[in-house]
Subunit: 116 residues, 2 copies
């Protein structure tokens, strides 16, 4: 059993192509003994976004703070804000964008632990 506080975790800039003003923390992963799944936290600064991409695994998301959009495979932006959940299935093209000019957009992004 382990309790993890975000402010005690290292924050790493995401340098993946297509990512802008995004950083990552990993509160729970196989390094903690988690047998199946990992919790990452992404912080997207104002004007920032994740890559518009696909991958062979799913995301389970929870928005901790801020507001933004989740762009779907057809390029349609769906509003999403603090307190809301999202499921992105394997192979679905998607992108998170912070639509606030001042607030951070912070979300949990849970994935199978072989990917993080």
């Amino acid at each position: 059993m382990k309790i993890i506080r975000l402010n005690e975790l290292e924050k790493e800039k995401v340098s993946m192509e297509g990512a802008r003003k995004v950083s990552k923390q990993v509160p729970i992963s196989k390094n903690d003994g988690s047998p199946n799944y990992s919790f990452r936290v992404f912080t997207i600064d104002p004007d920032g976004h994740t890559p518009y991409h696909t991958h062979p695994f799913e995301h389970l998301n929870y928005v901790i703070s801020g507001k933004g959009v989740l762009v779907n495979a057809e390029g349609v932006s769906n509003e999403i804000k603090a307190g809301e959940f999202a499921l992105v299935l394997p192979g679905e093209k998607h992108q998170y964008r912070n639509t606030s000019s001042a607030e951070l957009f912070v979300m949990i992004c849970a994935v199978p632990n072989e990917y993080e």
Copy 2:
């Protein structure tokens, strides 16, 4: 892809032995097509608690609001509050207790989708 809002989900009282003043919502599960994992949300009212129990699967937790304790296998209470994460490994005896007399304790409890 799916965006899910908690206030649109049914809230079910947890009737499991040892649970007191706890209700459950399931924002993401295999019913939504999630291939591996589920997100449940438990709301523990003031004076409420989950069962002090073990099970053969892990929990990945995030506290959405409130403050409480996570009791470990030795009976020691560890403080945990909004914004914090916890990992409970398979077979570890544990219990969540709301220690506030007024506020709800609300948390995400993520588990392998064969259990929910």
